[in-house]
């Protein structure tokens, strides 16, 4: 069934990493529409005879099926001189885009899903943090998030209490900032950009902007793919796959403040793709 969610149709979506584009056409799916990506000096995206708008941002080719796209959200760190931008992986997951975003925002699962990497028992507490919908731009921000991590990044050598900031600037994209092991005063950036193939299947594109001059690309990718490989079986065992927006569908706790804000924000936007809208 084609997507009828006008909010979702008008968004920009990543459809491939730029480095994966060759002269051979690529076939992929976006909101149930089959896309063909061709490269002939410039990249073009076609669906069912239509040519779609394109843009190249953050190492990916983005397109949209709608008619009135807004600008893509900014990640100012991407253009900082001393950062390394790495496309870590594109991984298919049998879940909805919003379930995937919630997992990206969640700290409570670190000791259980990313055991001895992003968390370890007994350090299980999710301390109070702040969540707000930014007044300058329409995005959710969770700040002052602290979590004890045994090995926060590929470049880490020991456990540390790590500071996180999360941004959700797009219904299906999120960006996190965390203490950089190489440069304690600054923050590394990790972004997840979701390409919803259907309501219950996504391709997750992961991008990093790191302050790390020593770790190889291969090591960085392996680290990130290990993390995502641990999340994938959990995400694929969540039921229902679409994110329920009814506040009484599941049982949130204080640690889920950012997820509660995200569900409300999606409700207010009127997003229906990849969610189960609240009946009321």
């Amino acid at each position: 069934m084609p997507c009828t969610d006008s909010v979702a149709l008008n968004l920009w979506y990543p459809v491939t990493a730029l480095e994966d584009i060759t002269s051979k056409p690529l076939h992929t799916l976006l909101l149930e529409e089959p896309l063909i990506i061709r490269h002939d000096g410039t990249s073009q995206v076609h669906t069912r005879g239509r040519t779609l708008p394109v843009r190249e941002s953050y190492g990916y080719l983005w397109t949209s099926l709608g008619t009135s796209q807004e600008d893509l959200f900014p990640i100012p760190e991407y253009t900082e001189d001393d950062r390394r931008n790495v496309h870590a992986a594109t991984i298919g997951v049998q879940t909805s885009a919003p379930r995937s975003i919630e997992n990206f925002l969640d700290m409570g699962h670190f000791p259980y899903v990313h055991t001895n990497i992003l968390g370890a028992e007994p350090h299980t507490e999710v301390k109070e943090y702040t969540v707000e919908v930014s007044t300058e731009c329409d995005e959710i921000r969770a700040t002052n998030c602290l979590f004890w991590q045994p090995m926060a990044a590929a470049a880490s050598s020991a456990g540390a209490e790590v500071n996180y900031i999360y941004r959700v600037p797009h219904p299906y994209c999120a960006v996190l900032y965390k203490s950089s092991p190489a440069n304690p005063d600054r923050l590394d950036v990790i972004a997840i950009f979701l390409q919803p193939e259907t309501q219950e299947r996504v391709r997750a594109h992961m991008m990093l902007c790191l302050l790390d001059e020593t770790t190889s690309n291969r090591e960085i990718r392996l680290f990130q793919q290990t993390i995502f490989g641990q999340d994938k079986p959990i995400l694929e065992n969540q039921f229902p796959k679409r994110l329920p927006l009814d506040p009484r569908a599941e049982t949130p706790i204080r640690a889920d403040k950012s997820a509660i804000a995200y569900r409300r924000w999606l409700s207010e936007k009127g997003i229906t793709y990849g969610v189960i809208p609240s009946a009321a």
Partner: protein, 548 residues
């Protein structure tokens, strides 16, 4: 039609599927179940999703007593499916009512039987009772189609078809007890395999029926935000009967309480119940149970020499006597994120700490259990303590001075991730409090439970209370507690000991100066001045604004 299927019992697994520490995934009428056997033999049939974030519980961990969700480590207990621990908030006791959906289940004739709303007796198996359970055969065809085909099969086999969903099912057969078990199993495994091919070929020709859409129950409105306050005064909701009573140490009786009707609610380590006695007295006793022990509560009661009718009445009770108790309340929750947990028990104060130690022991978390007793004859719950091995130390017959020295040793090194729980007689707690203050333990790491409040209480002076959320102003006269005034005016506020010791009637204070007279709040909580115990504490100012 679906409604009548909901009322029926269906086999959903073989008994042999439920091996120790395994979680088996089953499906009936479109709904997935997580099926697991606890170490005490009880078979749990739960909806296959954690009510926190919907992750399948069949990928969770069965530790023999509780089922742990893979995603966030939430623990759900044997039998009740109540949540006992939420690791993201280690200092909180989860609301008792956070509970997974459970379904009626029975084990009989080598099969596990369940149903959405099954009631009534299981089908009568006649000569097939306790027969040989055939290998289950999954079939990709509607259950009715399979049932029709089975009518022409060997009449000596009794068949039950489990409708997993509208388009697939499982054939479960029982043969009469027979000496040639192996031959029989092989023969039917082969014949039913042939039958399956035949039915599936037929089913492929017709349109598959629409899948069942089992409704996922909405969670209670209270859960939208936690923690929730249970709004109830002292109630005796649970009738129980005494099924075992023995004297386990000098002056200490152990009572096993089993429910007279329905199941007992979920408890957490550190929880207590109010016991309502026939003479009208109400007394609090901590539960000593280990995790997953949910078919009974065990309490330990010391006969007090100056008993005013509480402990002496309980000691006089007999097997088969009935009592009314409250639901368990937990104002002494156990964190499980400590690098080391130190439990310090004095005399009968060991009971809540015993339950904590049993939980830590089962989970393999590091702890030390220090038990101060008058003499060897006073050691209660020896068998349970024996399972703690080296983690338990018993200190016998120490003088007050020696006790103080020993406490100083135990409390010598405060550490950021060490937590101390202490329960015992007032003077011992006061000594421990003084030592902990001197050695630099913070209030947040040392947790006290008093049995009673020995401080001299002052009920003089009248003042006003303004109830911010109820928009009411009430006067608290001399000699009456805030709690009594609330109850007289129809405001619900839970309470238990009503002596300022248990922490149940805690209330947030928005403005006004508090005259703290309890032993529950820590010194820093008292100094912060934004919470009070309404059963004993009063106002220093003429007015308090309460968040009620």
């Amino acid at each position: 039609m679906l409604h009548s299927l909901y009322q029926q019992w269906f086999p959903i697994a073989s008994s042999t599927d439920l091996v120790p520490r395994h979680v088996y995934q089953a499906q009936l009428l479109g709904r997935e179940f997580a099926v697991w056997r606890a170490d005490d033999g009880y078979v749990n049939v739960w909806e296959n999703r954690c009510l926190h974030r919907g992750v399948r519980l069949s990928i969770g961990i069965n530790d023999g007593r509780e089922l742990k969700c893979q995603y966030h480590g939430w623990r759900y207990t044997n039998r009740t499916a109540g949540c006992t621990y939420i690791p993201a908030h280690p200092a909180d006791a989860p609301a008792r009512t956070i509970c997974n959906n459970t379904y009626p289940a029975q084990e009989a004739h080598g099969l596990i039987w369940a149903g959405e709303e099954a009631n009534g007796p299981l089908p009568d198996l006649g000569a097939h009772a306790n027969g040989i359970v055939l290998r289950p055969i999954p079939v990709h065809a509607p259950a009715e189609m399979v049932e029709t085909t089975l009518q022409s099969y060997d009449q000596d086999i009794l068949f039950f078809v489990q409708p997993c969903d509208s388009d697939h099912c499982i054939i479960r057969g029982i043969a009469k007890p027979n000496d040639d078990r192996t031959v029989l199993l092989r023969q039917h495994s082969f014949a039913l395999g042939e039958l399956r091919d035949q039915v599936e070929a037929h089913a492929a020709l017709v349109e598959a029926p629409a899948r069942y859409k089992p409704v996922i129950a909405r969670v209670a409105e209270d859960f939208i935000d936690i923690p929730t306050l249970t709004k109830e005064g002292r109630t005796a909701d649970l009738p129980v009967t005494i099924t075992a009573k023995d004297i386990i140490a000098k002056g200490i009786a152990r009572l096993r309480l089993e429910p007279l009707k329905c199941a007992l609610p979920t408890f957490q380590p550190g929880a207590h119940v109010d016991v309502h006695l026939q003479n009208g007295l109400v007394r609090q006793y901590s539960l000593t149970n280990g995790p997953g022990e949910t078919d009974h509560y065990t309490i330990g009661v010391k006969l007090e020499p100056d008993s005013r009718g509480g402990s002496s009445t309980i000691h006089a009770l007999n097997l088969g006597d009935n009592l009314a108790i409250s639901v368990p309340r937990n104002n002494f929750p156990l964190r499980r994120d400590a690098v080391e947990t130190i439990l310090i028990a004095g005399g009968i104060g060991m009971t809540p700490l015993l339950s904590m130690a049993r939980a830590l022991n089962v989970q393999g978390l590091p702890f030390a259990f220090h038990y101060f007793v008058q003499s060897d004859a006073h050691i209660a719950f020896r068998q349970e303590i024996g399972t703690f091995a080296d983690a338990a130390t018993i200190h016998k017959g120490l003088s007050p001075e020696d006790t103080s020295t020993k406490l100083s040793e135990i409390l010598a090194e405060p550490g950021p991730a060490r937590h101390v729980y202490i329960c015992g007689p007032g003077p011992m707690l006061d000594t421990a409090r003084e030592i902990a203050g001197r050695t630099g333990w913070s209030d947040t790491q040392i947790h006290f439970e008093y049995f009673k409040n020995n401080t001299q209480r002052n009920t003089s002076g009248s003042f006003k209370i303004e109830l911010a959320r109820s928009a009411m102003t009430l006067t608290v006269p001399e000699g009456t507690s805030i709690l009594n005034v609330l109850h007289e005016n129809g405001i619900n506020m839970s309470s238990s000991c009503e002596l300022g010791a248990c922490g149940t009637c805690r209330c947030t204070v928005i403005a006004g100066e508090i005259d703290h007279q309890d032993v529950y709040l820590t010194d820093s909580e008292k100094a912060a001045g934004n919470a009070m115990m309404t059963c004993v504490s009063r106002a220093r100012s003429d007015r308090l604004i309460l968040d009620i």
